[in-house]
């Protein structure tokens, strides 16, 4: 098929945009790698896990407390937000009267638009004291998880809602004609049909939770320690970078880039997993 001139120009433009977008990701990775290189050169990778503590000025680079803090806060937030978000989508799609569903959806969209610093502010002034009453100090892994949950909930709710909306109406009629109850339809047909979209939404939300810096920094307490309970103060990888970047130099600075690189790798892994999960068992 031969393309017209306008088509050729458009194709060239689109190729250019796509290449630029792809190149940016690679460049970011390259940059992180380059900036981490000084420390990676003379410090074995294993020391980021085996050192006794995180005292980069003294040459101690243990990252595991921060890694665990990031891991636990993301895991907790996703575990709370996923069922809530899916339930919210099911409510607005299948159970709410249409006018209420519309309002509700706008409200969730609004929730997605609240800046993270506002969530952090609310968490710090309202949530942290409440949790502090339960178990001091209040600024803790649990507070971080709850604030993150609120932040990623709209992402999951909206993507799940869109995935459910994309389920063909013919399935609904087909299911109704077989005498299926609404729940029978949802659990048997629409959720399996919408699963790739819902899973992708959850992965997207997890990516957001991992990368979230400001809100967690404000409510999690930022003590570098391996958390032993939900009430322990923790410092996530992102908070660590934000807190120390301003004054870090030399190997310390490079070590922070290493933690950035680590974050990037985790997110890449997550995206890969989302891709795999959405491909497996897809009945198309």
């Amino acid at each position: 098929m031969s393309l017209s001139l306008a088509d050729k120009q458009l194709a060239a433009l689109l190729w250019g945009c796509a290449l630029l977008a792809a190149a940016l990701v690679l460049l970011v990775l390259l940059f992180l790698f380059k900036e981490s290189w000084p420390v990676l050169q003379h410090i074995a990778l294993i020391r980021f896990f085996n050192d006794t503590s995180w005292h980069p000025v003294d040459g101690l680079y243990k990252l595991t407390p921060m890694l665990s803090a990031t891991f636990y806060s993301t895991l907790g937030a996703v575990m709370l937000a996923a069922p809530l978000g899916i339930a919210s989508a099911l409510f607005s799609r299948y159970y709410a009267p249409s006018f209420l569903a519309g309002c509700y959806r706008r409200l969730i969209e609004l929730l997605a638009g609240i800046p993270s610093v506002v969530y952090g502010f609310w968490g710090l002034t309202t949530l942290a004291p409440l949790i502090g009453r339960l178990h001091p100090p209040g600024v803790s892994l649990l507070t971080g998880i709850l604030v993150l949950t609120l932040m990623i909930l709209p992402t999951i709710a909206l993507t799940a809602d869109a995935a459910l909306a994309a389920v063909p109406a013919a399935y609904l009629r087909g299911a109704a004609s077989l005498g299926l109850s609404r729940w029978g339809l949802i659990s048997g047909v629409t959720l399996p049909a919408a699963r790739p979209g819902v899973t992708a939404g959850i992965m997207l939300a997890a990516g957001r939770a991992i990368g979230e810096t400001m809100a967690v920094l404000m409510v999690a307490g930022n003590v570098v320690q391996q958390p032993h309970s939900l009430y322990d103060s923790v410092r996530t990888l992102t908070a660590n970078i934000a807190l120390e970047m301003a004054y870090a130099t030399g190997d310390h600075r490079a070590a922070l880039f290493v933690s950035g690189l680590a974050l990037m790798c985790v997110v890449l892994l997550l995206v890969g997993m989302a891709e795999l999960m959405s491909q497996e068992r897809r009945h198309v």
Binding site: A170, R173, G174, S177, G179, L180, G188, P192, V284
Partner: protein
């Protein structure tokens, strides 16, 4: 009225199971009585003053041009009209001694008794087995042995067993259009309905598949009561015992029933001139 004899397979790709042929319907006994039915979408009438009897064990064909309310009429019979906002139905529809319009009626139970097949086959995006299992489980059948028996039985009934018995776990969406439609019929038969409503079940299929499905509908006669909407007059003539001719009344654009009677009479000695013009192909 002719009895349907043994059906010859059209080619090697499908086989017909031993569907039990019930008593013929020479002795008409009304199963559904429709009395003065009107249907409105909002204030716009779609169907006005339809009265007819659906006879037990017979095939009743509804013919007429597009937009004259045939599909709306079908949807009243299994209360699919409930799913259309602003849809209002008046008149009486008696089935099993109850008025179908009764709000207290168990609609799920009704739809189990009165199944529906759509123009475009709607297999769920699940495995072939799961497609049939899902409604059965919903209606309280959960023993695997019993499920397997029913699945094999209905797939044999629709002549699909030999074609799919080795790939019950693969996706129903991978089947051809004709196979999908037969799967949908099998799925409806699994619920042991009394009535099957078919909305142009062959019109989305290629001629060969269409012939296979038509043969299958023929063999449902006696055991099931079939109401079929079709635009294929030759098909209606071949398979139906009774026929109803719908037309659009000019002044209000509302559908109405012009004539109802034995299929032979409608096609060979129509009482109304519109019917004569339509079945002879000079109008519509």
């Amino acid at each position: 009225m002719k009895l349907n004899g043994p059906v010859k397979p059209m080619n090697e790709t499908y086989t017909l199971g031993p569907l039990q042929i019930g008593p013929p319907c020479c002795d008409p006994e009304p199963l559904i009585r429709v009395d003065n039915l009107s249907l409105y979408y909002g204030v716009k009438p779609a169907l006005e003053n339809v009265s007819l009897d659906i006879y037990k064990g017979c095939i009743t064909a509804l013919i007429g041009p597009s937009g004259c309310g045939k599909t709306s009429f079908l949807s009243v019979l299994n209360r699919m009209t409930d799913m259309i906002p602003d849809c209002r139905v008046s008149g009486k529809v008696h089935f099993n001694g109850r008025d179908l319009r009764d709000l207290a009626l168990d609609v799920q139970g009704l739809r189990r008794d009165i199944g529906m097949i759509f123009q475009k086959p709607v297999p769920f995006p699940l495995s072939i087995r799961r497609n049939i299992e899902l409604p059965l489980r919903e209606h309280g059948i959960s023993k695997q042995a019993e499920l397997n028996d029913v699945i094999q039985q209905v797939l044999q009934d629709v002549g699909l067993w030999v074609e799919v018995k080795d790939r019950l776990e693969s996706s129903a969406l991978a089947l051809s259009g004709g196979q999908q439609q037969r799967l949908c019929i099998a799925r409806a038969l699994a619920l042991k309905p009394k009535v099957l409503l078919m909305d142009e079940p062959c019109s989305a299929l290629d001629p060969i598949s269409s012939g296979v499905v038509e043969d299958l509908i023929q063999r449902l006669r006696g055991k099931y009561t079939v109401v079929i909407v079709t635009h294929n007059l030759a098909q209606a003539r071949r398979i139906a015992n009774y026929a109803g001719f719908f037309w659009i009344r000019d002044q209000q654009r509302a559908g109405c029933l012009i004539e109802f009677g034995q299929c032979k009479q409608i096609f060979e000695a129509p009482a109304h001139e519109l019917t004569a013009a339509y079945v002879n192909g000079s109008r519509g």
